[in-house]
């Protein structure tokens, strides 16, 4: 242990000396620990989409559309995997034009292998961010299941990723105006969850309700499996967003687990009280709500705060899903807005409340005397909502005009798997 410390010290001094000699100022250097952790985290986040989300959504879908639902997640991941490298990364994270978007610096090019983002290779940072963009698109599919045209989904993935995800990522994380205003979003409460949640709600409105607008999960074991993979992968989502292998990453991990467990239990208890029975689906839904809510807060709040955040995240989304959605009548089939949107908004606001400089000097919330932070969080939420209202609506409108938005009633009722893909999820007689 001591030898390791001395060795590290030696290298630090060497690099410091080199840095000083070269530029007269200390430069960031590649840290193996940080790099290893972010490498793993990238893989974890990828796992969240393929197959985590695919299974979570697939199990919730009616049997006749299972494969189509899973396909939408897989497809989104593949599409973003390509586009991110072509122009996504550069327009989200390289440079800044008027606070609105990045530059074309790395268009159709990748970061040089020597380039660093603090202590990790820049190309790794890019890949890590790719996985975030991918899951954001995939999340939206949950509201559109059992009736979305497949070509339409493909085009939607391309358009929404390019016109909405990339700019919003830039605004919050890439040096854009929301970041400059001081909005705190540790791992993507706004960029991923509120963003996807609002887009999903709009999609549900444009697609109009299904012929059978009920939740009829055909395989809750897949849902449980998917939940587990999401929970596990989220350690990379939040922990990896520390971009370093240190106590901050550990706190993010701990907060993630704490909020999630709390939310799972609180949803379960609310449901138990309200409907007389605890359900596994409720537990899993609560867990996801907790995961979402803690996402913007994971690296800013204390573990005690994460209990409070989780507690709220299990309750409010439950009512959004069980009471408000049926009352309003929109068919957000898998509650993307109800869970990701609502819990994301909760999480963003509560980050403004509980951000504790003792955890992360970059975040000072209400409890540290900075009430203004809550206002900034609120503003960033409004911005994302408004932007989606305009652009996402436009995208859905384009699909509608092109005639590739919704399948025919006959196809919808007979089932997308056979009609669109010629496949069945199960060959059980």
């Amino acid at each position: 242990m001591k030898r390791g410390v001395l060795l590290s010290l030696f290298w630090v001094l060497c690099f410091a000396a080199l840095g000083l000699a070269a530029e007269g100022a200390p430069t960031a250097k590649l840290e193996g620990g940080d790099t290893a952790w972010v490498l793993i985290s990238s893989a974890l986040v990828a796992l969240m989409t393929v197959p985590g989300l695919a299974l979570f959504y697939g199990g919730l879908t009616k049997q006749k559309a299972t494969l189509n639902t899973m396909f939408m997640s897989f497809l989104a991941f593949a599409v973003v995997s390509i586009l991110w490298n072509l122009y996504g990364y550069t327009l989200a994270f390289k440079g800044d034009w008027k606070g609105l978007v990045g530059t074309f610096e790395l268009i159709f090019a990748y970061p040089s292998l020597e380039a660093l983002n603090n202590t990790i290779p820049e190309i790794l940072f890019s890949f890590f961010q790719l996985t975030f963009g991918a899951i954001t698109v995939a999340l939206i599919s949950g509201a559109l299941i059992e009736r979305m045209n497949f070509t339409g989904w493909l085009l939607f993935s391309v358009l929404w990723f390019s016109l909405v995800y990339v700019p919003v990522a830039h605004w919050v994380w890439g040096g854009g105006f929301l970041g400059k205003w001081g909005a705190l979003d540790f791992a993507g409460g706004t960029v991923v969850h509120i963003n996807a949640g609002i887009a999903a709600l709009l999609g549900a409105l444009f697609l109009k309700p299904r012929k059978e607008p009920i939740l009829k999960p055909h395989n809750l074991t897949l849902v449980a499996l998917g939940t587990g993979l999401l929970w596990f992968g989220w350690f990379g989502f939040n922990g990896g967003s520390a971009l370093s292998a240190n106590a901050l990453a550990a706190v993010a991990l701990l907060n993630t687990n704490t909020a999630t467990a709390t939310a799972a239990l609180s949803w379960m208890f609310v449901e138990w009280i309200w409907t007389k029975r605890p359900t596994l689906l409720g537990f899993c839904s609560g867990a996801v709500a907790g995961l979402v809510a803690i996402t913007p807060a994971a690296g800013f709040v204390s573990p005690i705060s994460s209990i409070l955040i989780g507690f709220v995240a299990g309750i409010v989304p439950y009512f959004a899903v069980a009471k408000i959605k049926p009352a309003l009548g929109y068919d957000d089939a898998l509650d993307v807005f109800g869970i990701h949107g609502v819990a994301g908004i909760l999480g963003a606001l509560l980050t403004g409340v509980f951000a504790d400089p003792a955890i992360n000097s970059a975040g000072k919330g209400l409890i540290a005397g900075n009430a203004y932070q809550v206002w900034v969080q609120f503003l960033s939420i409004i911005v994302v909502i408004l932007y989606n209202l305009v652009i996402t609506s436009l995208i859905f409108l384009v699909l509608k005009v092109l005639g590739i938005l919704k399948v025919s009633e006959e196809v919808e009722v007979s089932g997308l798997d056979l009609a669109l893909h010629g496949e069945k999820p199960y060959e059980i007689d």
Partner: protein
């Protein structure tokens, strides 16, 4: 020769099978069906929304027996498939015109 069709609760299959074998049936066919009678559907709840499922899973058992076996077989099913709660099922009896064993080409009672 008569065909006896019984709609029973799925968990009763083992009991009914044992009872039928005991009274000496030659064989039986079981299929998974869904239906309702007096037992009107069940309630499932997902994310706070109640989903009424009208059709309930049942099993359909079909046996073809000699005329002299009918009463014993019916009695065996009545005993073994019974729970006393709504949804126990029904028995239907219909005449069979001919029975042929494919392997040996035997017909009639010999083929049962």
């Amino acid at each position: 020769m008569k065909k006896i069709v019984a709609i029973i609760k799925p968990f009763k299959l083992e009991e009914v099978k044992e009872a039928l074998v005991k009274v000496g049936i030659g064989g039986m066919t079981v299929s998974e069906v869904r239906g309702f009678g007096e037992q009107r559907g069940q309630l499932e709840v997902y994310r706070g929304q109640e989903v009424k499922v009208d059709f309930i899973p049942k099993l359909k058992i079909e046996v073809v027996v000699r005329d002299d076996q009918v009463e014993q077989v019916v009695e065996a099913i009545l005993q073994s498939a019974y729970t006393g709660k709504i949804g126990d099922g029904k028995i239907f009896i219909s005449p069979v015109e001919e029975v042929i064993r494919i392997r040996t080409k035997e017909r009639g009672n010999k083929a049962i």
